[in-house]
Symmetry: D3
Subunit: 254 residues, 6 copies
């Protein structure tokens, strides 16, 4: 039985909404460079795959991913100077999220989770949710959870995955976490032999605009993806999927 | 070799853009009721499948589909009262298209095709393209083609597919064309046994708002999908794919 | 007794709204090239004249026309490269319609008809209505009808007006329908001697941006206006006016 | 020979723009209560009539009026609580003006005059012009004049028209100036017998929102229209038309 | 005891709102040239100082000033060609005011006064208030006063301050009123020795865009500031502060 | 000699811009609850004070602060349910920043630093900068630095300031860092005796909307401010001011 909303007829979707009050997951991705070894769709593909795993655990549904996200920034996604990175203005993403949330409320959905797979999306997704809720008014029964999926990796997992120390999520772009999760979910789309040798990027505590492209490794990889493995991906996926499922059960009283 | 942009690394994408000046196809879909027998994602799924077939013929690339489209209208998509239909405001879709076109221009793409699979999207997609081109200015080398895929069905095909007469594209929502194309491309997502008996809807030459939901068959199917077949889908897909490929070769001088 | 709202004092308008609950008609026009023989104001002038005729039949009122419309497109209005065509961005037209609808609701109008005389306006007018109704909320008594006036020409009229076959509304820009209606309503503004010899334009099933101006006859006329006459105009006006009046009576229960 | 742009074909308009570099006048009106004796369209009707007179003097052209304006305010137009007053949001009017200016620049117009007939429009018209000019860039040859027409009444005329002292333009809503100008231009639309007895409104030096409707005479007339006459209208029209024509000749070097 | 909201803790602010229903004053300023003798912040500094004086009289509170305002115009602020003038688009200022008003309503504030110190702000502030009130709906208890502070100078004060005749508020930019008020409130920021000799600017009854910078004295002072004094400033401040306090007591029933 | 732009005349500002090409600092604050012991204006006051210290070191100028910021979030600022917190929509803040940056570019400023003192502002400030730079085009000489001031505290300072371990910037709302900096800069606005006993908030790795207000300590303080001191404030201010000054010198080649 599929959990993908786009594969269900409206009749089946409506029945499930009416009878089961399912949690709907909306993956928020991007089309963004992820180094020479990962595909441009990584953020949307991973967020979707993780959502599907969670949905199976909690009898939820997964809406079509937002495949385009906010502008890539040098210190977390490499920046807008990369060919292939295809980004939205902040206001566009805000409106996209607002409209989607408004529609799910119209369907009768009361439990919605926006699973962000692209660091730069966070605040625009937040604003979109808040604008929709303001419009829906205080009597709306809709509750929305918002999260970045990597925040559910446990500390013990991170210390095992990064035996030499975790460089922080900021540099984890196209690096060990994303590469390992892709090896777990979509190994055919990973080119292990193309992982670059770039050391971790070293960014100052400020941003410059126009972007200082020299700060970013030419590969677009902010810290090395070496050491990635499907096993690590599986372990992190378990943390993330289990963690989100637990959060959903708790907050939505399932 | 994949034609899907989201499965390519930026390095490979950049190489192809630089060396081959490929045509990029952007499928514009929707999440919209398509009767009890077709999935909510039909418009995006079909537009994407057709784009991939065309791209293979012309060495092009297919960008991630816009999975959400403009508000469904009673006379062409059933209307916004259906559960599951998940739509955007006009301004949101305009901005989404504008941003995407702007970004492809930054990549160095000079040949872009927006393939619309959702009737209601047309004018907002048009406006998005025009706003992007205004912003890019007259010296930009970008040329954009915009089309609805069904307009490439030949008259002879339509007369064969509809031996009792073609009811017109307006009523062809979740009906023989879309059902046959889905049977050709994604038969597992079609529930032939659930095709409703609804006769063709009979709409007056005006619209009413709030929508007169009684005008629309409760199933959401505007004319019967009976008689759909994978063979008919194949025949129409050949028309559409071949027609778009020819148009692309002609207009983009390939 | 005038039906034009702009010629009534507010005191008289208010009395009629309070006592008679009249239908208000809002003509949606454009300022757009209509060949060498018709004036730039054709769309607004015709929509206004037709609205006044309908209003007289149903004791309605006609609001000042929207004199500027959405951007002209090559395949239905010649395109934006013509001098004199003066168009609005989509978002501007959406907002204009939304604001006007909101205000009529405030007046206590419950029956509003937007009569579109410019093909390109359709979807932006639709969105403006929908945004206003969303804002007004489900308890508002306002009902809105939206239409393109030419859709009320009967098939028998069209077959008489076009003895060699009707080329379709798409090519009927500055052609027989509009020229005949202008000869009926405003003959002084028609220069019959300047009707060009251009044969019908032959457009492919796609659009190109920037517009391929070579597709469009230099005159701006998409199919010949030869054969236009005031008699044909009268006959079509009768269809349109009678048809809209009937629709209004039926839908607004007059 | 007409000066109304909407009555010219594009061919004739284009010829005049190319050969004569004419001044284009854009009347900016409103649909707003003007007491029991003047019609709702007064602002657009007067601005258009004055523009046509000026255009005849300087071989200019008059574009279709903006028939809807910014929200009526109690102290200059009576306020938004009157039935019949039909107003736009500020952003809508800004966009409308911006789009129109952008289009006249595309036509090759270099001399544009926005003639405001509705006090409340001023700043939104100003912003629309400035946004258009920013977009057109510093190399655009377009020059734009903006004015309120009543500011061209000379002091000697005002002292003759108001023998008991001029109450100021702020209170001149539906009062002697507008009534006299309407008696000059469109006497059939004036109901002299309905002029109310309301004395001049006495407003404090601040505004209150929601509007204090008790501040405004129930008739909507802010100071008495008694003493209005076609002769006074003629005299003021001469001042205004002559004054604008002189300004246009001076600033546009005609 | 401070009246400045930004110096209060939220706990103290909340207590006062709950117990005292205080009037909140929001100064609306600008960052704009004020000649060689007054600082760029004059409008925000004066509006804030006056608000604080009024607030002390009526036990009110003063919110942080809006330090940036609408674009300076030649005839009232010198224009946008001056270095240092730092202005907002109309839509930005509208949104800023709308958001602020919405938030004060959420706090439980029912008495809000927007004190404008920058002539060009007026209509955008007005629109912001109206948009917020529309959103809050008719059941909101919020009442908003809006004013320009100089309008509270009494005629007798003006005739004393300008023994040679009052040139009108329009030319009072960086002139006697503002300079005297600054000498009263913030004398250290006034450079009396730098007051220029420019005579009063003489503007025609229309505007030109792009701005005719030659119309504006190079100093940016529209009429002479000579004769300014702290005494005059004190006298005008008394009028303004007393007048606003009286208005507030009357309209808000204190 | 003042570094505050609002205290300079435009003549002096223009001279400095022309002769010295100074760095301009724009503090980005908020009006937001900061517990019972810190004032609502803390973010703008601190950002301004730090900017002034840096400006004195590098001969720069400080523009008037943005006193209102993006909506407070529970996990970093307590959330929007606090009385006194006065926030902007995302789009408003984006536009405010875009307009300001555009204006500084017009002045001839080529070195601009946006110093953010409110965590929630980050991405909207980023978008505002990027929109302005897009509009200014690639030939603009403007370079913009963007930063959160607390990121310049050195690790050694943090380990001294937090002998029991640094809880992370996320929880540092109205806590030791802000309280100590306020004790250093504006001790009169700190009520040390009102510091609450609340332990550190413990947030899950996701957000809920509508906000779960029970997650947030009723005081609004996210971790204890106990242990704050002016000495700690001085030490951190030295880090921050010195760090920003160094960054500015390096990136702007001073």
């Amino acid at each position: 039985m599929t959990v993908r909303m786009d594969q269900l007829s409206w009749v089946e979707y409506e029945r499930r909404v009416r009878e089961q009050s399912p949690v709907v997951f909306l993956p928020c991705g991007a089309t963004e460079q992820h180094g020479p070894h990962l595909p441009l769709g990584t953020d949307a593909l991973l967020a979707s795959a993780l959502c599907e795993d969670v949905a199976r655990q909690v009898d939820g549904l997964v809406a079509p991913a937002l495949s385009y996200g906010y502008k890539s920034q040098p210190k977390c996604g490499g920046g807008q100077h990369f060919c292939g990175t295809t980004s939205l203005d902040g206001q566009t993403l805000i409106a996209l999220v607002r409209d989607a949330v408004r529609e799910f409320a119209r369907h009768g959905i009361t439990r919605l989770v926006l699973v962000d797979g692209h660091y730069e999306n966070q605040w625009f997704v937040t604003e979109g949710i808040q604008l929709a809720l303001r419009e829906l008014g205080p009597s709306s029964p809709l509750e929305v959870m918002r999260l970045e999926h990597w925040d559910f990796c446990s500390e013990s997992t991170l210390s095992d995955v990064f035996p030499d120390g975790f460089p922080g999520f900021a540099l984890e772009h196209a690096a060990v976490i994303e590469t390992s999760l892709m090896l777990h979910y979509l190994p055919n789309l990973v080119s292990l032999d193309l992982i670059p040798d770039d050391g971790p990027a070293d960014f100052p505590p400020y941003d410059m605009y126009p972007s200082r492209t020299a700060w970013v490794p030419p590969s677009g990889v902010l810290s090395s993806a070496r050491g990635s493995s499907a096993d690590k991906g599986l372990r992190m996926a378990r943390d993330i999927v289990g963690g989100i499922a637990d959060a959903v059960r708790k907050e939505f009283r399932l």
